[in-house]
Amino acid sequence: MIAFLIKRLFHALLVMFVISLIAFAIQDNLGDPVQQMVGQSVPESERAALREELGLNDPFLVQYLRFAVNATQFDFGYSYVFHEPTTQVILRHLPATLELVFASTLLIILLSVPIGVYSAIKPRAWLSRFFMGVSIVGISIPVFLTAIVLIQLFAIGMSWSPFPADTSWGAWLNDLISTEGGLPAYGRGNPEHVFGTWYTNFTSLKGLTYLILPAISLASIMLPLFIRLIRAEMLEVLQSEYVKFARAKGISMRRIYFVHALKNTMLPVITVGGVQIGTLVAYTILTETVFQWPGMGLMFLDAINRSDIPLIVTYLMIVGVIFVVTNTVVDLIYGLVNPTVKLTGKPA
């Protein structure tokens, strides 16, 4: 266990090293930060002075070494745009992203498990077919489109009147297909302070309303995938010998489904899920942009637009660490669910 964690720590360091090297190597193609920091009519001499001050004229290796030496002391440099250490900027944006990812993950778990299990137990029911059909569509719709449609329907509202409005049934049907709107279309509102840089949306109903649309949009990427995955795994498990044996022994179907079968279904799902949570963090870039959710994704896109190289490098490294950490946690959970798995991969 300890050996496993130490190995993972080295993993993380290696990942950070490689990412920082790549990010540094491509920085010249990210555009000129000086251009973003001065007005258009500022003379070349001023720009040159600023470039020198930022150390952008130094050779690649000098710049990288300077960065690497500071990075070993957890100093990743100053953001050009925010005028403060990049780690501080990211720490401030992190809670918003984590809360969004948390809310989406919760949605995914709460919806995908029952739907997946149901459509495996009753594969021919019309409801199962409906879920499968929707999930196919869901997989193929890009997240920003989902987001824009959700905003139009539930933030702005949409009134349709294809039915005659002067009849009571027509008005009722019109009402049924029209939406009211009223949900917030952007931002986090006024999140409450918890501690440090953490402001939360989870303490009030009002705060939660800000989460609804972004969380649904973000969940929409993974939800169909998970429903289909759980269904497929469950179907397979239900065909297996031990389930047949359990049935023959006369154990109640409920117990077979939810104790025996589900447990084995969840093993591969947890592995995939862990990796996908990392992917969710990456997808927050799109979701946060559309909803102007002030998290790391939005910050990262802004940083790219403004060639804020130190912030870009730090973001990439932190996301790399998030990937390593989630994978490690997944492996640990995997070990708990199925004790026969050896974490170190060596015979005990």
Partner: protein, 522 residues
Amino acid sequence: MFKKTLLASAFGAAMLTAALPQAALADNTLRMAYDADPVSLDIHEQLSGGILQLSHMVFDPLVRWTNDYQFEPRLATEWEQVDDTTLRIKLREGVKFHSGNDFTAKDVAWTIERLQRSGDFKAIFETIDSVNVVDDHTVEIVTKQPDPLLLNIATYIFPMDSKFYSGETDSGKAKDEIVKNGNSYASTHVSGTGPFKVTGRQQGVKVEFERFADYWDTESPGNVDHIVLTPINENATRVSALLSGDVDFIAPVPPNDLERVEADPDAKLVTMSGTRIILLHMNQERVEAFKDARVRQAFTYAINQEGIASRLMKGFATPAAQLSPEGYAGHNPDLTPRYDLEKAKELMAEAGYEDGFSITMMAPNNRYVNDAKIAQAVAAMLAKINVRVDLKTLPKAQYWGEYDNRAADMMLIGWHADTEDSANFFQYITECPNAETGAGQYNAGNYCNPELDKLLEQANLELDKDKRADMLQQIEQGLYDDAAFVPLHWQDLAWASANNADIEPILNVMNFPYLGDLVIEE
């Protein structure tokens, strides 16, 4: 008699108390969304639209522009040209800074001195030799040579609270330091004379303002008590935020959504012809054919500005044939777009390029409205005179580096004159490039006409407005005849608000809404 007065005063007092809670209730909040928030609270750190918009909220300029390009007194009440190089300015009395300090002539001198230290602003203020404090409410600005644009420049002088920004912080740094990369006192603390105080700021998330109780301009009809500014970069989200009632005021409105906003009964749209010119340079150093004025003219004849403005820009642009928009001193009303394909072909044949040639073109794809599409349309139009265009479009972060390297034969640029004056266009866009003086810094065509430059030099020293306007118009004529560049259009501006915000009177082509004067109807 006594009874009557007593009764009257009692009645008056009753009225007053009755009126008071109501006044307290009328707490008007304006929630607005721009495409970006100011990068800093230090208004001398960067010369950008966002910073100038902030300046007009938290500070006051000496003078400000009206919509017909006149100067409106703000902290300067009167001004008088004492001699060719000295302007005496009377300052408003009884003005207070947010910190409670009194505003005096010393603050003006201090601010100008600081502007001359700012990398972004020093070029504009180079002309000023010294600032003399005559008395508490009078200053004299002395220029190195006669400068007809001194008042234009004065619109950039937003006096800062010299007492507030003097001294050292706890960590021993000067409070008046201007820092581009890193933290400074002035980038996080602010004290101006403006209608609003900054009460909270989370960069990239929101900035909050509150009306300054001791604001000097009590005649202003403005009744906004509280402003929340949220940056919403994404066009569709910004419009949605307005349509769903989450915000009351947005800018800019993207052209694709103009109809949608206009159709909404709860929102209103205000558009205005802007002053930012979009044009293409033809690089004479890279392409031999561009040295021939007939080829350049052929290009301007081949490109249909009206078509681009009406179809591609959906009427959201004013077709241009010169740099100066209407209202600028140099605007020459005789110059109109000259789309004529036959004439273009004739000129090409005359110059010996009947069969055309191949060129490269570059344009940004996220800087100006529809920039990449405009470049594509131009390439298609040039194909009709047998010019084959190899077009490359880049995000702005990468584009400007290529622009500085003059990396393509034709390059697209948009320009807005910081001084709201034609001379600024010529100085950066068409003057003979000179690395030492910085002239022609963005002249990617390498166009050079020393005669016009000489005229510009004279115009820059001419204090007589009419004579100067005449010179500038001559320059426009000269550039037009030479086909120095391909003018396309002036980009229009658009704002939208909820119906109860009366935004029309506070908007202007410079795109600094005078929010202090905004009236929200109850």
